[in-house]
């Protein structure tokens, strides 16, 4: 198939940036979206132009490195699918495709489609863990955890930290990302000791990074390639309020 691509080009963090148009021919339906960009880039290099910078690594939908807004939707039109797992059979001959970076104050653009997501790490640093040093652990079976609890923890822990939730949110809020980690640990007995302080500290850091607030649009849940439920946001809000009132979640 032949396609027309409109891609955000920005030479550096301080450059204005603009959409540039590229035509690409003979795209196979079996290619992944990123392989289509690889082919485009090889063509650009052959013409002596600078290839499009985009983040990617595992290309299996698990590392969370790739991320781009495709036709207005983070990771593109297929639900629960990262850009690297999106395949060209989703598109048809003659389509025009708009490709842009995540847009959020807390995710500054470094070049073209590459953004800096260091803010996510700093949120985790404020409590997205269980404070247990290596060597402290008791036997793994000493504390039974019911299957529903373990499954719920895993549902939240499946977050890949890609940032699609932020890109989808009209407020650029990182509530789903933050709530996924809070919810993962709150679902398990190991996470109880620090449950209140964790919710408080992580939300405060999220605000400090310049992410917006949640106003219940649920765009995050719709865009999440791992299908993480917005219910975890409700749970985090409860833990946050309890903590703010000086209680123990």
């Amino acid at each position: 198939m032949n396609l027309r691509l409109h891609i955000w080009r920005q030479a550096g963090p301080n450059d204005m940036g603009m959409l540039k148009t590229y035509d690409i021919a003979n795209v196979s339906e079996h290619m992944s979206f990123l392989e289509m960009l690889d082919v485009l880039n090889e063509g650009l290099i052959a013409k002596g132009e600078i290839p499009v910078a985009f983040d990617h690594d595992c290309r299996e939908g698990i590392c969370g490195t790739c991320g781009m807004v495709i036709n207005g939707r983070p990771h593109g039109p297929v639900a629960r699918t990262t850009a690297c797992q999106l395949h060209m059979r989703t598109f048809k001959d003659g389509d025009e495709i708009y490709i842009e970076p995540w847009r959020a104050k807390a995710f500054p653009v470094l070049r073209d489609l590459v953004v800096d997501r260091g803010s996510f790490d700093r949120i985790i640093q404020k409590g997205g863990y269980v404070s247990v040093n290596t060597g402290n652990a008791q036997d793994g079976n000493a504390t039974p955890i019911s299957k529903p609890d373990a499954d719920r923890a895993m549902d939240a822990a499946a977050c890949i930290g890609c940032g699609a939730c932020v890109a989808a949110c009209p407020n650029s809020s990182a509530m789903l990302f933050t709530a996924a980690k809070v919810g993962h640990l709150a679902s398990l007995p190991q996470g109880q000791a620090e449950r209140s302080s964790r919710a408080m500290e992580m939300v405060l850091q999220m605000d400090a990074e310049g992410f917006g607030s949640c106003t219940n649009h649920y765009e995050c849940e719709a865009a999440c390639p791992k299908g993480i439920s917005a219910e975890f946001i409700a749970q985090m809000n409860r833990d946050f309020v309890t903590s703010a009132l000086g209680g123990k979640a």
Binding site: A11, G12, S28, H30, M31, S32, E35, M36, D38, E42, A46, G48, I50, P51, A53, D55, H56, D57, C58, R59, E60, G61, I62, C63, T65, Q85, H87, L110, R111, V114, R117, G118, F120, D121, I124, Q125, G128, Y129, V130, S131, N133, T134, G135, N136, A137, Q138, G140, N141, T143, P144, I145, S146, K147, A150, M154, A157, A158, G161, L188, G191
Partner: protein, 637 residues
């Protein structure tokens, strides 16, 4: 050069305990006086950084990713082995040790493997305490599944995302230490070189991938946890950025590279679909618990799989290896797939594929149970191929997955360069010539959580470390050298992109040094690789500059190292005149096509010394002794 593996004496069961008791300690107040550089933030690197910081050392951690959570450990699907014997099915530390030595085709070091099996139980406990959401039974206890090469169920898992959950556990422990100020984390920094002063590893050179700045970082010890070199084949299941640069540059600075020819070809990957293919996707080995592998009995059978009756199918693994069946080890299952495809019985486009069929399991257990066990893998398969594996059998084919070879290390995980430690896939020590499934996660975390915290203290406590500075001539020279290499690459101004060279190199390696190797093929590769390398340095084009984010330059630098390293792999494969594990030399096979080891002449670790680019490396041998597991022909029949 004398290779001292520093293996403690005494009965194997007591060696690690004895060694730990004898290792000198650094007192808590003195630990903060020692600084450690850790390169890589995968399972081995993140667990090492976090644990060393918890102990009080000053840690600087480096990753080329934008976050420490993205290392390729994250993509491991199936699980992690541990000798917990929760299933009461006869498992023990001894049995895990035995299975690993046998699975590695008797080319691993017994003492290291025994220690790995011992600490495996602590890993599970540690990860549970961190909140890793392992699968549980309804009673609340940990669940297990089976993996290839074992007859017990000892694999712990978190759906099909075990690597992700274990890595996030280690990442969170690391983030905690970063938040506490005990680890300084450097994102988007790629290691360019190792700094060696007075014969000891004292620092590294990095390139900032955003600004292009090249600078030195000094420390009292350097830990490389930088993964494997599977991407030398271009197409592999490794992530796109995985590369050999860190370990290869250390090799050029004197560290011996051990067994580079031992590469693992994973039997269950999604077949290649076109020339544009950028990587191959693994389908977890756990699928072989319930999926049955088959091809048509007859050559050129073009019927769709549901039209082929049982009598016309060949479940070749079950036929050839009745006791292990579909759960035969990876090297054996891969070669068997190649064999049936070479016979013309492969399925799918190009005949490079075999069926992995769940119809029986779905009939027996119902779709829901299968979805519960493998749902995310089935989804991934459908996304990539457009086919629904609940309805039609998956098509799979072997692909490069893991590299057992790596930098040579002693029992303390220290290389022959004092102060340079190597952990996880980057070292060679535990898997011999073939790694069993669910053992990579085990090794990465064993090294990082439970081995290096003890052995690095022993190194520091010996004393003798002088203060060093970034102004030392060695550090300054290494910075200049790195800058010159970058400038040279940018100034070639040829016609071919880094990817095109990488793809051509990968094709040579897959054809000549892949699943099956011959003397003639390897000699041909040893001719073609230097030719390709020469063309690379004359005809490469890297657009853009060295002072900003330039992904072509990153790739160009990595491919430049692959082009040198590939030669070393071929030298190693050529000298090993036997077949063992993942190394299959066609000249050395039994009548029924199984690998034929030669224990009389090749029961050693091949550790190579660099002598200059394009010059033949020097082979050093560490002989392997098997005092506890009797050398025997592996049989899974």
């Amino acid at each position: 050069m004398e290779l001292n593996s520093a293996i403690p004496g005494g009965p194997i069961q007591q060696r690690w305990d004895k060694h730990r008791a004898e290792l000198k300690l650094v007192n808590p107040a003195n630990k903060r006086k020692f600084s450690v550089i850790v390169v890589g933030t995968g399972l081995a690197g993140a667990s090492a950084s976090a644990t060393l910081a918890e102990l009080g050392y000053n840690v600087q951690a480096f990753t080329y990713h934008d976050s420490a959570r993205r290392a390729h450990s994250i993509a491991a699907q199936g699980g992690i082995n541990a000798a917990k014997n929760y299933q009461n099915d006869g498992d023990s530390v001894w049995r895990l040790f035995y299975d690993t030595v046998k699975g590695g085709d008797f080319r691993a070091r017994e003492s290291n493997v025994y220690r790995l099996a011992q600490v495996s139980v602590n890993i599970i406990d540690q990860c549970v305490a961190q909140g890793v959401p392992f699968a549980r039974e309804y009673g609340g206890y940990l669940s297990n599944r089976s993996f290839g090469g074992a007859q017990v169920s000892r694999t712990f898992y978190a759906r099909g995302q075990t690597g992700q959950q274990l890595l996030l556990g280690a990442y969170q422990a690391l983030m905690r230490q970063v938040g506490l100020g005990k680890v300084k984390l450097h994102n988007k920094q790629e290691m360019m070189d190792l700094i060696v002063i007075d014969g000891r590893a004292r620092g590294i050179i990095t390139r900032d991938l955003v600004t292009g700045a090249v600078r030195s970082h000094m420390a009292d010890a350097v830990i490389l946890a930088t993964g494997g070199y599977g991407n030398v084949f271009y197409l592999s299941t490794n992530a796109m950025a995985c590369n050999v640069t860190a370990t290869y540059r250390a090799h050029k600075r004197g560290a011996l590279f051990a067994n580079p020819c031992y590469t693992q070809i994973h039997p269950t990957c999604i077949p290649q679909s076109g020339d544009y293919q950028s990587k191959l996707t693994l389908m977890s080995e756990s699928l072989r618990n319930d999926g049955r592998i088959w091809v048509p009995k007859n050559k050129g059978d073009q019927r769709s799989p549901d039209q082929i009756p049982e009598s016309d199918r060949d479940y070749y693994l079950e036929r050839k290896y009745p006791s292990f069946g579909n759960l035969s080890p990876r090297d054996i299952a891969s070669r068997a797939a190649k064999e049936v495809c070479d016979e013309g019985r492969g399925v799918g486009p190009g005949g490079l594929g075999v069926y992995l069929d769940f119809a029986d399991a779905i009939r027996r257990l119902g779709e829901k149970v299968i979805a519960d066990r493998y749902g995310n893998l089935f989804e991934m398969y459908e996304r990539i191929t457009g086919e629904n594996p609940y309805k039609v059998p998956m098509r799979i084919y072997p692909a490069v997955h893991y590299t057992m070879g790596g930098l040579w290390v002693d029992y303390n995980l220290m290389s022959n360069v004092p102060g340079l430690f190597v952990l996880g896939e980057a070292n060679f020590s535990d898997h011999g010539a073939n790694r069993l499934g669910a053992s990579a996660l085990m090794q990465g975390l064993a090294d990082g959580y439970f081995v290096i915290p003890y052995t690095i203290g022993g190194y520091f406590a010996q004393g003798g470390l002088q203060a060093v500075s970034a102004e030392s001539p060695e550090a300054k020279a290494a910075v200049t050298e790195a800058e010159q290499k970058i400038a040279a690459l940018l100034s070639i101004g040829g016609k071919r992109s880094p990817t095109s060279f990488h793809r051509e190199l990968g094709k040579i390696m897959w054809d000549k040094c892949g699943m099956a190797r011959t003397e003639a093929g390897l000699k041909e590769a040893l001719q073609r690789i230097p030719e390709l390398r020469e063309e690379f340095w004359q005809n490469l084009v890297v657009p853009g500059s060295g002072t900003d984010l330039n992904q072509s330059l990153e790739l160009g630098l990595r491919v430049a190292d692959f082009l040198e390293f590939a030669e070393l792999m071929c030298y190693d494969a050529l000298q090993r005149n036997e077949s063992c594990g993942g190394h299959f030399r066609e000249e050395y096979q039994t009548e029924d096509g199984e690998a034929k080891r030669n224990d009389d002449d090749y029961c050693y670790v091949a550790a190579w010394e660099h002598t200059g680019v394009g010059s033949t490396p020097i082979l050093h041998k560490e002989s392997l002794t098997f005092e506890n597991v009797q050398l025997a022909t592996r049989s899974y029949k």
